[in-house]
């Protein structure tokens, strides 16, 4: 067996070793992505609200 095949073979335990590492990276990556989109969604919502506030203040000053 060449070294690369034997590396992926993991002494016959490849079917247990590789999924462990892949699942770990996928779960940690997904949690990071979820946290980032949670933050971005909040920032977008806050910005929209602040822009609306500025707009209504402008209207109020126009009326005055």
């Amino acid at each position: 067996m060449d070294p690369i095949t034997s590396f992926f073979h993991m002494g016959g335990y490849g079917a247990y070793v590789w999924p462990s590492f892949v699942i770990t990276l996928v779960v940690l990556g997904a949690l990071f992505a979820n946290s980032l989109s949670f933050l971005r969604a909040g920032e977008t919502a806050l910005k929209e609200l602040q822009d609306e506030d500025v707009a209504t203040e402008d209207e109020a000053s126009d009326e005055a």
């Binding site: 002494g11 016959g12 462990s20 699942i23 949690l31 990071f32 949670f38 933050l39 909040g42 602040q50």
Partner: protein
């Protein structure tokens, strides 16, 4: 000291400075840890190549307990001093701890099948970690079960504190009961019973998971603060 950093505005500034450091450290430690875990460490004389599962399983289990302890500690601070940032820290920790507990269970199962011949056994260690997983889920469900966020935070904090009794049970389950799970080999009297070639990648992965926790915690805390501001603006409009 605590109050200096516990102010949300000051926290936003401090966390912005810390975020790139936690991100960079996580990636460096993770790459070094994975490299040593997969290439730079030997197979076990008894368990063969399956021992490599240890490098993700053990740090994930450490973090499952560490995150729960942080969540319970922050919950206590939130309950006693009514500090909003402490409640947010507990809330932000819960999903991270849930993921680590899930990973400990799944990778443990993937290690158990070839070594014990079973995906799952109802023994003390495995069962108490499964309970930890449900405690995290219960905490998050309770936090979101109330219209008033402060009542949700209070109820969830009490659950986190009551559930903390499970943490020492998990830690000592391998000594108190006969279990299939092996006892600790790193944190034990007389020093670690594990060769440096295996201890180094294990500790690197443990550090990588710790900085990952800090990184994602800072992100989620910032997200909680922003979400709180959005809620406050909407409430002010609804009543104004």
């Amino acid at each position: 000291m605590l109050h200096r950093f516990a102010n949300p505005t000051r926290f936003l500034r401090l966390s912005a400075a810390l975020l790139p450091w936690t991100a960079g450290l996580t990636l460096i430690l993770l790459i070094a840890g994975l490299f040593l875990a997969l290439f730079g460490s030997p197979a076990d004389y008894q368990q063969g190549e399956t021992v490599r599962i240890m490098y993700v399983h053990v740090p994930a289990a450490w973090m499952a307990l560490f995150c729960y302890s942080c969540m319970a500690g922050a919950s206590a601070v939130g309950l006693i001093w009514k500090h909003p940032l402490a409640d947010m820290a507990a809330k932000a920790t819960a999903p991270i701890g849930t993921c680590f507990t899930f990973l400990a269970l799944v990778t443990g199962s993937l290690w158990g099948k070839p070594m014990w011949g079973a995906w799952w056994v109802w023994d003390a260690r495995l069962t108490s970690v499964l309970i930890l997983f449900f405690l995290y889920l219960g905490y998050m469900a309770l936090h979101n079960a109330f219209d008033d966020p402060t009542r949700g935070a209070r109820s969830a904090a009490i659950l986190a504190l009551v559930g903390f009794v499970n943490v020492p049970i998990i830690k000592f389950s391998v000594d108190w009961w006969n279990t299939l799970h092996q006892p600790s080999s790193v944190v034990k009297a007389g020093g670690p019973a594990i060769h440096p070639s295996m201890l180094t990648p294990l500790l690197l992965m443990g550090l990588a998971f710790t900085t990952y926790y800090l990184w994602v915690l800072l992100l989620r805390l910032r997200a909680e603060i922003v979400a709180g501001k959005v809620r406050a603006v909407r409430l002010r409009r609804a009543h104004g």
